[in-house]
């Protein structure tokens, strides 16, 4: 897996993930992803549009870091998953605990509600 980081507007931290988020792919980004998303307060927008495959281990990484971020007073929003990845997320109930957005306006709103 690969990961790119960039600052978006007004305090939103953008993290673009790409590749296959199975156990091998997740191990490749896990430490850096945690360092970026869970060690300081931020509104983290995790762009999943280039994630081609999401396994349970990938969901666990998202949840663990969203949980840590919430404890710091920030929040995480999952952005633009493809339909297959979104079905995986929804079948495990993730949308109820980490918002999923498909446009930046919805993402802003989700941060506001978090």
């Amino acid at each position: 897996m690969e990961m790119a980081v960039h600052d978006l507007e007004s305090g939103i931290l953008g993290i673009d993930l790409s590749g296959r988020m199975d156990i091998i792919g997740t191990q490749q980004i896990d430490l850096k992803f945690t360092a970026l998303t869970a060690t300081r307060k931020a509104n983290v927008l995790v762009d999943l549009s280039n994630v081609t495959f999401m396994a349970s281990i990938g969901i666990r990484t998202l949840i663990n870091n969203a949980k840590a971020q919430k404890l710091r007073g920030g929040s995480m929003v999952l952005y633009r998953p493809n339909p297959q990845v979104e079905e995986v997320l929804k079948s495990t109930g993730i949308q109820a605990i980490i918002p999923i957005a498909h446009d930046i306006e919805a993402a802003r709103g989700a941060f506001g509600s978090g």
Binding site: R20, D22, I23, I24, F53, A55, S56, I57, I59, R60, I63, A66, K67, K70, Q84, V88, S91, T92, G93, A96, I97, I98
Partner: protein
């Protein structure tokens, strides 16, 4: 099942073998021209199952083997995973309730939940060599013909 599988692969019980599983499956998918949604369902269920077997089935670090066989039939694909690891029946595992908050989200059972959601049938049998899990995936778009083919 008495008939020869359309294809099979045997993996060492090591996570580093997972890319071979992915390659095997996607090669088959190309040969049989499966639709993308079907490929994804099989890929996800196989990845979850084999990852779980390798991660928890050999706690003492001993060597092991995981055999995956696949049969194509008219309108459905059957995948059977045999391993010689610790006995575990994912069909009898009681799933926790879906989380309602981040605070109560645990890591337990998510892979099994995915397999139950994306496979049309999940059957378990404990035999002499070990665990045997059978997954069935229906493909209604190809119910009119058998996809069977000699894959060599």
């Amino acid at each position: 099942m008495a008939t020869e599988p359309s294809s099979q692969i045997v993996l060492d019980a090591q996570l580093a073998q997972l890319p071979q599983l992915e390659h095997w499956l996607h090669t088959l998918a190309g040969q049989f021209a499966w639709p993308q949604s079907l490929i994804h369902r099989i890929d996800l269920c196989l990845t979850e199952t084999v990852t779980n077997v390798i991660s928890y089935g050999y706690p003492d670090g001993r060597a092991g083997a995981v055999r995956i066989r696949l049969w194509t039939h008219a309108g459905q694909i059957e995948v059977r995973i045999d391993d010689d690891g610790t006995a575990f029946d994912p069909t009898s595992y009681v799933l926790p309730a879906l989380p309602v908050s981040l605070a109560d989200a645990s890591g337990d059972g998510r892979g099994i939940r995915l397999v139950r959601h994306f496979a049309d049938e999940v059957r378990y049998r404990r035999g002499a060599p070990g665990n045997q899990l059978t997954l069935v995936f229906r493909d209604p778009d190809n119910a009119g013909h058998s996809g069977s083919r000699d894959s060599g």
